[in-house]
Amino acid sequence: MTTANKISAPLDIAAIRRDFPLYSERKLRPGSRSVVAYLDSAASSLTPEPVLAAMDAYYRECRANVHRGMYAESEEATRRYDLAREKLAAFLGAAPEEIVFTRGATESLNLLAYSLGRDLGPGDEAVISIAEHHANLVPWQQIAKDRGFAVKFIPLAADMTLDMAAARTIIGPKTKIVSVAYASNVLGTIAPVRELADLAHAAGAIMVVDAAQAVGHRRIDVKEIDCDFLALSGHKMLGPTGIGALFGKRARLEKLAPFLFGGDMILDVRKEDSAWNEAPSKFEAGTPNIAGAIGLGAAVDYLAALGIDAVREHEKEITAYAIRKLSAIPGLSLYGPSKEKDRAGLIAFNVDGVHPHDVATILDRHGVCLRGGHHCAMPLFRELGLNGAMRASFGVYSTDEDVDALVAAIAKVKAVFKV
C-alpha cells in the first residue's frame, strides 16, 4: 500500500514521488498540458496514495456514522476516527482530548475569534502581525468591531522578520489575545512563537498560533511552543481538503464556549437550555468529516514515517537552491527574510514590470503551477507597497528540477514581455 515504511533518511525523493498520483500517473492535465512542476504546496499540498487509500477504505469497509451506532460498522468508523485524533495529537505533542477536528485552520481561527472574542470589550486588545493571512486577521477584526475591543499589529523589521522590539511594546496589560502565524504564507517568515507566547503569558494573554504553513513542514511541539491554541489545515500537510484541527490546552478548551451548535456536542437538551459535551466533542457539532479525519491521520503517519526533520531538511535545501537560482535572474525581485532559519519552504517574487497574473498564465503554459496575487494577505501587500507577487512553495516531493523548470519558464515570461 505504501512505500513510506521503506523510506529512511536521507529521503529518497524519487520513491516519494511515486506515492503521489500527479507524478506517478502521468495523466494529462485539463487543457492537455503535462505538469512539469507543482510549486503551489503552500496553497495546497499534493496527497499521497496511503491517504487516498485510508479514506477509500473507510467508505468501503465501515461506512457509518461515528459515536452513535451500536453496530460493528459504526464502532469501526469511530475507532478509525478517534485513532486519527490520537495520531495527530502525538504528532503535535498534545493529548487526544486537546485536538478538535474542524474544516481547517480558517474554521479553527473563527472558532477562537468568536468564542474568545465574546469575552472581550472596550479597552481590551488582540495582537496579531501585519503579515497575517486573512484567516487570522478578519475574524479578529470583525469580532473586535462587534465587541468594541482593538486589534493591534506587530510590524515587520527591515529584514522581513517580525519586529520583536515593537512586539515587546505592543504586547502589554491591555493585551488579552496574541495570535500570530508560525510561518507567513507570503514571506515565509518564521515567527519566534515561543518568545511571543512568553510575552503573551507575561501580559496575562492567551497565545494562539496559526500553524497552517508550519505543521507537516517542521517539528511542532505545542508544549515547547507553550501556545494555548494552535490552528492547522490538513490539506497543507499532505492530507485531504475540508479537514483541519484546533489544538487547545485542556483547561482552555474546558473553559471555552462552543462555536457551532448541533448534534454530537450535546450532553443534555431541554426546551429552555442545553448542556455541552466535554471537549473536544463540545466543538464538533454535526456529523464530522470522518473520511477527512482518517485521511489526515494517514498523512500524519506518512510524514512520521519519513521523519519530520528530514522533511524540513529537504524543503530547506530546495528553498536555498531556489533562492540561489532566482537571485541570479536579473529583473526579479525576491521578498522575505534572507536567513534560512527565518524562513519556511516558500519564496515570493515578482518579475519586474509584469503583473503576477500574466506571469502565472505563462508559467502555466509551460506546466509550472504557481500562485500569483495577494495570497489572502492584502494588508501585508499594502504595507510592502505591492499589488501582488508570485509564490513558489515546496513540499517533500519537490525537486531541484522543479525549480529549474520554473527558472526556464521565467525566461519565457521575460521573452514575451521583453523585460
Binding site: 524519487a14 497574473h357 500574466d358 498564465t361 505563462i362 501582488g388 523548470a405
Partner: protein, 138 residues
C-alpha cells in the same frame, strides 16, 4: 534523482503567443486613451479585488454617443489591453450599442483565448463602462 518525471519545456510555445500576441502587448505597453479628464458626463471606478486591478473611466456623452473616453488604473496585461481596445472600439458609438455589448463581444475584440481564471481581467473595462452608465443613469 534520475527517476524524476520532467517533461521538456517546449522550445517556443505557441500557446503563450496566442494569449500575449503582439497586438495585446502593444495595447498594454502603449495604452490608447490613457489619462483622466474633466469635465466629463460621468466617471466610474471598479476594482478587481482578487487581482488588485483598479480602473477608473472618464466619459463624455453627446447626442447619445460617446464622444470622448479615457481611463486610468493598473492591472495585468490582459485587463489593460482590453480596456485600451474597448476605449477605441466605443468611441463614437451609440450608448445603446454599448449597453447590449456582451462578454463574447469583448473577448472577440481582444481576439485571444480567455480561460475562466482570466475572464474577470478581460471584462473589467466593459464592466466599468456599463456599471458607470447604469449608476449615472446615462
Amino acid at each position: 534523482m534520475t527517476d524524476m518525471i520532467h517533461n521538456q519545456i517546449p522550445e517556443a510555445s505557441t500557446e503563450e503567443e496566442r494569449i500575449y500576441k503582439e497586438n495585446v502587448l502593444d495595447h498594454y505597453r502603449n495604452p490608447r486613451n490613457r489619462g483622466a479628464f474633466s469635465p466629463c458626463t460621468f466617471r466610474h471606478r471598479e476594482i478587481n479585488a482578487s487581482c488588485g486591478d483598479d480602473l477608473e473611466m472618464f466619459v463624455t456623452v453627446e447626442s447619445g454617443k460617446i464622444s470622448r473616453i479615457a481611463f486610468v488604473g493598473r492591472g495585468c496585461a490582459v485587463s489593460q489591453a482590453a480596456v485600451s481596445m474597448l476605449t477605441e472600439h466605443v468611441q463614437g458609438k451609440m450608448l445603446v450599442e454599448i449597453e447590449t455589448m456582451g462578454k463574447d463581444a469583448m473577448i472577440g475584440l481582444l481576439g485571444i483565448p480567455i480561460g475562466p481564471s482570466r475572464l474577470k481581467c478581460a471584462l473589467l473595462g466593459l464592466k466599468t463602462l456599463q456599471n458607470g452608465m447604469v449608476k449615472n443613469k446615462i
